[in-house]
């Protein structure tokens, strides 16, 4: 059983449309993170949930991005309306401990978003 399942694996949408990315973590992990990698650049932090609460959303690019974590289980990241610069790979990660420094993160395989 994969620790983190992300879907869709790929999404191609037109500029101005809405897209929702989903992350399903294995149970027992209170900490959930979203990261993004744009066009071969570094992977950047977007936000961190502890259970259903947003602990740190300092990396969210702007108010077109909305993240939720229902009941502390799965999480969604909605982009509305999508812009060309939103293209990239969106990763979800989980950790057991408070932070990935001790146990490390378990990453999903990512959603590749292409905005055309």
């Amino acid at each position: 059983e994969a620790g983190v399942t992300q879907f869709p694996s790929h999404s191609v949408i037109e500029k101005g449309q809405t897209v929702t990315l989903r992350c399903d973590p294995i149970s027992g992990h209170d900490n959930l993170y979203w990261y993004r990698r744009v066009m071969g650049k570094e992977i950047k932090f977007l936000l961190h949930f502890v259970k259903e609460s947003k602990q740190d959303e300092s990396g969210m690019p702007n108010n077109r991005f909305l993240a939720e974590r229902t009941g502390g289980t799965y999480s969604t990241l909605k982009v509305q309306p999508a812009e060309l610069e939103d293209s990239g790979v969106y990763f979800c990660a989980i950790s057991k401990g408070a932070g990935g420094y001790d146990y490390g993160y378990t990453f999903g395989s990512g959603t590749r978003l292409t905005v055309v």
Binding site: V4, N31, Y33, Y35, G40, K41, E42, I43, K44, F45, H48, Q55, D56, G59, F91, A93, A98, G99, G100, Y101, D102, G104, Y105, T106, F107, G108, S109, G110
Partner: protein
């Protein structure tokens, strides 16, 4: 502010040759250091980490890395690579006052040729 620089975007190497992937970081506070690997169509997987203690850290699949505080480096090495090591490698740091946020480098693609 923290930053991580991976000096080589691509490293081609022949099978059974040694390899070094370079990583330098910049931080005004103490950090923990990590290397992650991403195989095609998979998530990132932890290779090794430095938290404290011995500066030479051994990880999975025969990889090791050495923390050099004076040079702010954490280079990844393997004495003999295999075709299966072909992947993208990411260096990352966590600052000790905020261990819920990784700062990643831009990645190094290791291409092992037969």
């Amino acid at each position: 502010a923290q930053s991580v620089t991976q000096l080589d975007s691509q490293v081609p190497v022949f099978e059974e040759a040694p390899v070094e992937l370079r990583c330098n970081y910049s931080s005004s506070v103490s950090v923990y250091l990590f290397w992650y690997v991403q195989y095609p169509n998979q998530g990132l997987q932890l290779l090794l980490k430095y938290l404290s203690g011995s500066t030479l850290v051994k990880g999975i699949n025969g990889f090791e890395a050495e923390f050099n505080k004076s040079q702010t480096s954490f280079h990844l090495r393997k004495p003999s690579v295999h075709i299966s090591d072909t992947a993208e490698y990411f260096c990352a740091v966590i600052v000790r006052y905020n261990f819920n946020k990784f700062y990643f480098g831009s990645g190094t693609k290791l291409n092992v040729k037969p």
